[in-house]
Amino acid sequence: MIVFSERINGMYRDVRAAIPERNKQLIHQLLEKQLAGGADVVDINIGPSKGDPVENFIWLAQTVHEMTDKPLSLDSAKADLLVQVVPRVRQALPDTKLVINSCTAARAYMDKLIPIAVENHTGIIGLTMDQDGVPGNVEKRVECGATFLMTALEAGMSTDDIYLDPITLPINAAFKQQENVIEGIRQLALINDPAPHFIIGLSNVSTKCLLNKLLNRTFLVMCLTAGLDTAIVDSADQELIDAMVTAEVLLGKQLYSDEYVKAWRMQKGLPTGC
């Protein structure tokens, strides 16, 4: 399982304020917890922070990179911003693995961002939606996912650099859509061999829900059974990570041992508390 950490995101008020203030300390404090929890990739998003968005993005990428060599996921819904930011970050951090988060399967978006991914040797997250918005069913998700996958492969990308995101919506706002996500992953996993990665923005499922953490970890485990292998999560949520590792053991993706959670942490080089 590849863990993208979600916390360095300007949608959180503390991060949003820290960016224009160039408050590295706060970013590093948050990041340290995400890394200690087991993050493999750090997702960064400037949110609606004040100031020049390109400069903000570069600053945030460099600030994160000061603490870790881990890959960065450059997160924005604005394709035009990513078109500007990705080459700049690539130039500033030539040896860091990057992932573009994200691009829809709408032709205009793919034409803009897939070439940027190829030129800058980055991975890319493809959303299973197009100009018509988020599909309300499985079929359209599969259609969009297949379109995105084929377009990226034809542009010369390898499946290992392609992440399909079947789009997670909150349970309190979008009933039935969670089932569609799971079935979407299941069907998309069959259309290409080797399969691309499948990713979800997990916390979306529980936005403004009281029992958000319980919803998060339950939904993560459900998606894992369908073939999810990547997720953007709060990696500092230990119960979530423990549930994820447990599901992987039960699915036979990791070898069981009595201390399998500790084994997982040892392999990641994380503190094991002993």
């Binding site: 080797p194 070898l255 069981y256 009595d258 201390e259 084994a263 040892m266 392999q267 094991t272 002993c274």
Partner: protein, 320 residues
């Protein structure tokens, strides 16, 4: 669209582990032997490389064995009252390593003291310059006294010491680390326990890269398939990046194969099974060559004919 590559893409690799230390490395061995290092399925050259072919150790006991059948007595009977002479025989026969078993320290055998065991190890080290694998008597309480002493007299020789288990690992791991030896971790026919023992040993500060896994062994006709599937799963875990299962594997084939009645029985029905001189080596060789396919890096054997057959198979399967 092009046809996708059929070969597996592995992220992990079996740790290479070097046994024995030459003069330059602070020991007195003539040469060191490296096992492991594979980054693909055994003998599938297109899948990955096996930089070090499986090594073979021959058994040496520290007292004359009571129950070794005639084909083995014919090879070792004249030397088996002297472990040093026996070890020299093993070297003459072409072993890569000597597998020394301190069986006489067993409380129900001769209950020999740690000092006597240490003396035996010293004598064997002086007699041959091959790397050594050294086992206690498999009684934890006694081994905890014997093995630290043995580790001490073999200091710097980079021996392989056996065996740490889920309940008894601290003393042996400490001795191996203090006197710079490698360590065998043992979990009988249980891959999950095998991983757990490695976690426990690693927790003591012992490096995961200095461990060799012993999943126990079963001979042809006596549950070999259980061990085979454990080898296979362990190897796939290692190649998939599980660092707690990335250790090379030792198998005690000689001991198990020569326990089989097919290898040792004479008279009655057994006479129809073929000449006793061939049955034992054949049982040993078939067990060894089968288990090698599952992923094994160090084989302990007994009969030179079996050793020759196994080497021949390794050579042919490696395309060398």
């Amino acid at each position: 669209m092009t046809i996708p590559e059929a070969k597996e893409k592995w992220t992990g690799r079996v740790n290479p582990v070097t046994l024995g230390a030459t003069k330059a490395e602070g020991g007195t061995r003539g040469r060191a032997v490296t096992i492991g290092g594979a980054d693909g399925i055994p003998f599938l050259g297109f899948d990955g490389q096996t930089p070090h072919p499986p090594a073979i150790a021959l058994d040496v006991l520290d007292k004359p064995p009571a129950e070794w059948p005639r084909p083995l007595a014919e090879v070792y009977g004249d030397v088996w009252s002297d472990p040093a002479a026996w070890a020299r025989r093993a070297k003459e026969l072409g072993a890569d390593l000597v597998n020394l078993r301190l069986v006489s320290t067993h409380p129900d055998e001769d209950d020999r003291p740690p000092e006597a065991a240490a003396e035996t190890v010293r004598a064997v080290l002086a007699a041959v310059d091959l790397p050594l694998i050294i086992w206690g008597c498999d009684v934890a309480e006694k081994d905890q006294k014997v093995m630290p002493k043995v580790a001490e007299v073999a200091q710097g020789e980079n021996c392989l010491l056996g065996a740490a288990t889920e309940t008894e690992y601290r003393t042996l791991a400490a001795a191996a680390q203090a006197y710079r030896h490698k360590l065998i971790t043992l979990a009988p026919c249980d891959i999950n326990k095998s991983k757990q023992v490695n976690i426990l040993v690693s927790d003591t500060g012992f490096p995961l890269t200095d461990i060799v896994i012993y999943p126990t062994t079963a001979a042809l006709g006596y549950g070999m398939e259980y061990i085979y599937s454990i080898l296979e799963r362990g190897r796939l875990a290692a190649l998939s990046g599980d660092r707690l299962m990335a250790q090379p594997v030792i198998l005690d084939v000689g001991y198990e194969a020569w326990r089989a009645k097919e290898a040792r029985a004479t008279g009655g029905d057994a006479d129809a099974w073929g000449p006793i001189a061939q049955r034992g080596p054949a049982w040993e060789a078939v067990t060894a060559t089968t288990l090698l396919q599952g992923g094994a890096d160090l084989l302990v054997l007994r009969h030179p004919v079996a050793m020759a057959a196994v080497r021949n198979v390794i050579r042919q399967l490696s395309g060398a």
